[in-house]
Symmetry: C2
Subunit: 332 residues, 2 copies
């Protein structure tokens, strides 16, 4: 196992990855309704990703599946002339589970391990069915927009943990998919754990690992709120933290806004059924990525602000009218 982790350091890409995007579970599913996709948001997110990944405006669907109620498959082969280019900017998509998988995982305690217990083993199967169902739907939504998306389920792609820390991951396979011009789509998944038998590997942890080894230019978290707030965003006096600076030792502080009366301690909400932690995990994961010199943006999905940041235009100088949180490293 250790050998696999070392191998991942050897991954080199001919052209660097532009961006790793997290599709937050809360942004693409209806968090209060079990196993329900937020179709409207997913469609807008997919369209925004197409606009930022592919230069061509010619949308040709790559999902040649039968539509419900029809017996034929629609696939216009003539559209795929030599002129059509899929030369996508190099992106990786990682999505959370939202209302998929969490129920199955928390009901059975997969995240706590103990594969010798029938309930945990059953939950492992049930969780993987639920999250791979979501993964397939997201791959299809992206493909419908003409994005050459390829589902790469972490359990299948050699991801495992040891004491809940990543022990192995087949990063060369991810790199190979990118070099071949595809957009890998990973997700939070149930995986084997060397010590506790099994656990849930969250999308956020996957992103940190990918960022560390594949060094993207920037990372974007698409979520269901405008960014990170100083207290739960549902509270009326919550303030959006627009800029967080991370120092080389990993500690972080709010740069903007510089409110005198702002609580130093950022309050966060963690939904009861969220087995992988909520905003708190996000900030600390984001800070660890920023520490590497990679800018991290947290922004509301399916808004003009998300399109703005995905396109890379917010980088360098963050405009005043951009709503979101940027987390980046500062040198002293």
């Amino acid at each position: 196992m250790a050998a696999s982790v070392n191998e991942t350091n050897d991954v080199t890409l001919a052209k660097p990855i532009r961006c790793i995007v997290k599709l937050g579970g809360a942004a693409i599913t209806c968090k209060n309704e079990l196993e329900k996709i937020n179709e409207e948001n997913l469609e807008i997110v997919s369209s925004q990703l197409r606009q930022t990944m592919i230069s061509s405006d010619n949308v040709v669907s790559l999902d040649w599946s039968k539509r419900p109620g029809t017996s034929d498959i629609s696939c216009n082969v003539d559209s795929f002339g030599d002129q059509l280019s899929f030369d996508a900017n190099k992106f990786i998509v990682v999505h959370g589970a939202g209302s998929f998988g969490h129920f199955q995982a928390s009901k059975s305690g997969v995240h706590k391990g103990g594969m010798d217990q029938p309930l945990v083993k059953a939950g492992f199967v049930a969780t993987r069915i639920s999250v791979t169902t979501l993964n397939l739907e997201i791959v299809r939504a992206l493909a419908r927009e003409g994005i050459p998306s390829i589902g790469m389920s972490p359990f299948s792609c050699g991801w495992s943990t040891s004491g809940r820390n990543i022990a192995s991951a087949d990063l060369p396979a991810v790199a190979k998919a990118i070099e071949s011009g595809f957009i890998p789509v990973l997700h939070g998944d149930a995986v084997f754990d060397d010590i506790q038998g099994c656990t849930i590997l969250s999308g956020d942890v996957i992103i940190r690992h990918l960022a560390e080894h594949l060094k993207p230019e920037y990372v974007v978290f698409l979520t269901d709120v405008f960014g990170v707030y100083d207290r739960p965003p549902t509270k009326p006096d919550a303030v959006l933290l627009k800029e967080i600076a991370v120092s080389e030792d990993g500690s972080w502080s709010v740069i903007k806004p510089t409110l005198q009366d702002m609580n130093k301690q950022v309050e966060t909400t963690v939904a009861a059924h969220d087995t992988t932690g909520g905003m708190e995990t996000k900030i600390s994961e984001a800070a660890m990525i920023a520490k590497l010199g990679i800018d991290v943006y947290i922004v509301k999905a399916a808004t003009s602000h998300s399109l703005w940041v995905l396109s890379g235009e917010v980088r360098g100088n963050v405009p005043d009218d951009w709503l979101g949180t940027v987390i980046r490293r500062v040198s002293r």
Copy 2:
């Protein structure tokens, strides 16, 4: 790549694998209707697999997904007491594509390679969407029967080819899943090819590779006819070949029946849209497995004959009233 293949020789299992089962595409899908599962057959096949894999008669579903038209997930946690055992016999399931994937693959020419062509690249995405949709449905059907099934998509699991021969495969991952008590479910898939860019890796080739390296006690092909015939089984005078002997050099001959007037040359049918070959591939793949000393049975899915052979009762002495084809090694 070569290193990965060599690694696969090192796979050892604490307890040998009992059986590798191929769910033929023609048996589990409606071959003449695009992307349609043969629900009735799949249900019977799943039930027969449960009966042969798990000793307990207590069927507890491991698919805790929301059913269409409901808002709740049914999962009876109390069923998973310490008494419930999933101690399944060690099986691997591999399924074909049938009416899934073939359309997308043949329309785009994925099997012929050429990833620099937009149509091939598009077809690669479309094919994977179609075959992983089928894989998910099969994993769910097995899980509903209480089988701890785990989808392991070959593309994701590190399978690739070189000149259409297998160049790499993460067999340790398959072994690990089995050792942990799960039933891996693999399938024919679009994969990368070192030489031609990409190709279609058929379920039959996957089975031969798994059989070679994991040495199951026997292999069963579930198909839509009673076995191998001396000519296309649709012809009225077609004769079922009940026993085929494979010698150590790989050549094979029909032992039973010993008809004088039987054509020596076995005619076979290959459906026009079958990009991975039909019965012809099956016989030669089966002969290569039998050459290793592993008995191969070809039998009609969802019949008493398939239940009989899956349970292992046909082994050794094949009863006269068993309908199917057994292919095994004979020493001179």
